[in-house]
Every structure is written in structure tokens, then in C-alpha cells.
Symmetry: C2
Subunit: 264 residues, 2 copies
Amino acid sequence: MTKFDEATQAIRVDDTTYDVCLDDGYSIGGPLNGGYLMAAMLHAVVDASPHAHPVSTSAQFLRVARPGPARVLLEPLKTGRTAAMTRARLVQDDAPFIEMLVTTATLDGEAAPDWADGPSAVMPDLADCVRLPDPKPESNMNFSAQMELAFDPPTIGWLTGAPTGRPESRAYFRLAEPQDPDPYVLALAVDALPPVVFSAGARGWAPTVELTWHLRALPAPGWLTLIGGGRLISDGWFDEEVEVWDSAGRLVAQSRQIARLGRG
Amino acid sequence: MTKFDEATQAIRVDDTTYDVCLDDGYSIGGPLNGGYLMAAMLHAVVDASPHAHPVSTSAQFLRVARPGPARVLLEPLKTGRTAAMTRARLVQDDAPFIEMLVTTATLDGEAAPDWADGPSAVMPDLADCVRLPDPKPESNMNFSAQMELAFDPPTIGWLTGAPTGRPESRAYFRLAEPQDPDPYVLALAVDALPPVVFSAGARGWAPTVELTWHLRALPAPGWLTLIGGGRLISDGWFDEEVEVWDSAGRLVAQSRQIARLGRG
């Protein structure tokens, strides 16, 4: 079992209750990454579902979750032949931290698309992409060590005082340990980029309020490509869209989150 | 009170219970339109919130709702100074029909954007757009009478056997009765276009599984512009994104839904 599978496993207590142990390895300076938390919750949802894949996930982030034991409470809402719908809640010390609506179904790994658009941006070759410097140990940015991100250089120009001036963030992504991407890795991937607003000149912790992502196909082994953008920064709010493409050139996930601008 | 306001009003029973009367005027051949149902539920959510606007709404469509009395059951999840979060459920005959997660906040009607992208497609002038023919009375497409939609002609080419070959649907939109757009009208607008997959050659009832939309600004009076597209049609599933622009040229709402292809 890989570290990621272990850190996101959900242990069945009964039909609607699962235990998870939230791992400090996915903290971003203290709070845990939202994509990591979604992955753990989705393990519980799919385990309790007659279907194999989390096709649609909407998560509302109520409070910042911390490492340690937590529970996932499920409420089955509908079980159909094609899809099942479940409400899931992440609870720590009896308080809700994330509320989630999930639709599970079983995707056909061999399906050829009826119609497919291409990526919304062209990436340079992997060899021409750049890594972020390792975070300082005291920053508690443990999350960074779990994955490799190789960035399209202009989209991390903000690091050296040269933001592009528009919300964007693009990188190749894979786990640091040898593990092929699966739907749970995709849950991590859609929330793994630095906030797109950094490229537009913003700074600071940008808390996600709501994130919805859809699993569109089962990812092929190899690097994923994350293409992040946004349409509007206004009144303290911004949207962030992330497309995830697999090594076979297929759109495997698409997300949009709405978040608050940091006060950094 | 306009017909739309009346048809979407939510009558307070207690802190967490509201009565609504679902109006046959918003049926699409029997089932009620999803945007209409969201508008009615959002009236309940906002009435019970300390904040004025439904900034983020995720809705999971469990079952097809029919005209008649229904209830909206609320669960407050978090009440903060900037935003409040609520779970809402539409119930008929004790069964859940729609499950929804809503974030309310109070938007500043005068806010100037920090950064704004333009529309993702250019619309022809209103005078060059075309209406759909009136539906046959026996079709029970009452929904069509509630609004005016003036379409970008190629995007309804499917009506006359000439689909564009890609998922798209674009139109100017306003209510048939004199009513300026507000957040509830936007809830209707994001689900008012014919499915984008009709332009890609698909036919038949395309049930929405999940729809998330964000209110980005308070709309100015006048026509709205709806720009609908999609990225992938595969394995029986498709995504549909709708941008809503107001008469002042501002992005006021953005939605994405995941839906099933019809078997038409």
C-alpha cells in the first residue's frame, strides 16, 4: 500500500460511518489540503456504493481540518442502476468540517469519446518546466513533499516578482512515490496547484469555499497535466478552474472552485 | 409581485422549514425545470440566512419533481461574518428530490473587478438572433412561455437538421414578464438553454445529475447573455458550462453541470 493510499484509507465502522486518520503529511502550513480530504472522504463514499467511481463531487469547506482522527458520516440519497447519490460529512470532535455531495457510477475505461475538446492551453515540454524550491522546514508545508509539480515557467513568475497579470497556474503532476493516478489522486490533483490568483498579483492563504469536480475518464499511468485558470477576481472572491489531462491526452477531470482572496 | 416571484416564493414554517408551491408553468413536458426549483429553494435559504445573496450553489438532482406543494428543509452548517453555509433539501411526499449546498454572502453591487476576462464567445446583435417556434400545446413545454430566448442562429441549427457539430448553445435571455434580473432569475437562466449537446447531434431528455453555479455580481437591468458550451461527451456523460453576462457587460453567473446523454 502506498503512503497516499494509506493516508486516505477509510475504515468501515458501519454502513454509514467510516474512520479516517488525517495525515500531517498533507498539511499546508497547518491546515490540511482540501484535495487530500476529498480523497479520504471519497474512499468512504465509494466503499459504501454499489458503483466503482466518484463521477461528480461537490464539497463545501466549512472549517479548516487538522491532522488526527476524524469520521466520515454518509447518507445514501438514491441508489440507481446507472448512478448512486450520497451525502458525506467529515466530522472532527463532533463538528462538521466538510459537507459533500457525491454521485458514483461505473465508468467504462475503454470508452472512446463522442466529442472532445482539446486542452485550453499548450504546455511546454516537461524538460522545459521548473520546480518550486523546497519549502522551509519550519513552514510546515509538508504537502509539497508528496508530489512532483513541474511548472510552466511564466505561471510561477510571481515567485520572483514577475506575475503574468492574469489568473493562471499550469504544471505537470505526479505523486512523489511510484503510484499511477486513479480517481483519488485526481481529487488531490484538482486542488494541488498554487492559487491561480498568485499570477494575478494576489498573495496569502486563499481559502476554498466550494469546489466541484467531475471525473470524466479513468486516467492512464504517467504524468498528469494540470491547467488552471480563472475568469473573474472581484469583491474578495475568485473562481479557479482546473483541467486535468492524462498521459494519453484525455480530459480525465475538470474542477471549479470559488474561493476568497487572501489578505496577505 | 411578478409571476416568477410568486412561483418561487418560500413561506416560512419555522427556522428550518419552508413551504413552496411548485408551479406547472415551469414544466418541461411534465418534469419541472431544475433552475426554477433551485430559485425556489434559494429563496428559503436566503430568507433564513443573515446574508443577502446566494453566492455559491451546488445541486444534486435525485428525482424529477412535479408541480404541487413541496417543502424545503434547511440545515445551517456555519454562520460567519463573511459567509454562511447551509444544506437544503427539496422534499415532496417525504422523499428528497434535490439536495443542495449553498453559501450565502452579501455582494457589493458597486464593486469594480480586480481582474476580469471577457466572454468566451461573441454574440451577434439581438436583432440578428432568432426565436424558437412556440411548442405544441400538447407537449406541456410551459417553461418556454416564461421567458424570451433569442438565439445565436448556428446554435439552434440542430432544429433544422444542421447541428454545428460541437456542444454549444447561446442566447439572449429575459423573463417574458417585465422583471429585472436578480440572483433568482440567474438560477433560472443557468439552466434555461436547450442542452448544449443538441448542437453536437444528440437528442432527447438530458437529465442533469449535478449543477453548481456561482453568483459573481448583481445583474444590471435588461437582457442577459447566456453562453453555453461543453468540453467532453463520453461514456453517456457530458458537461455543460454556462456564462451569464449582464447588459453592463459583467460576468454575473457561471455554472457547470454534469448530465446524462438522452436516449432520444
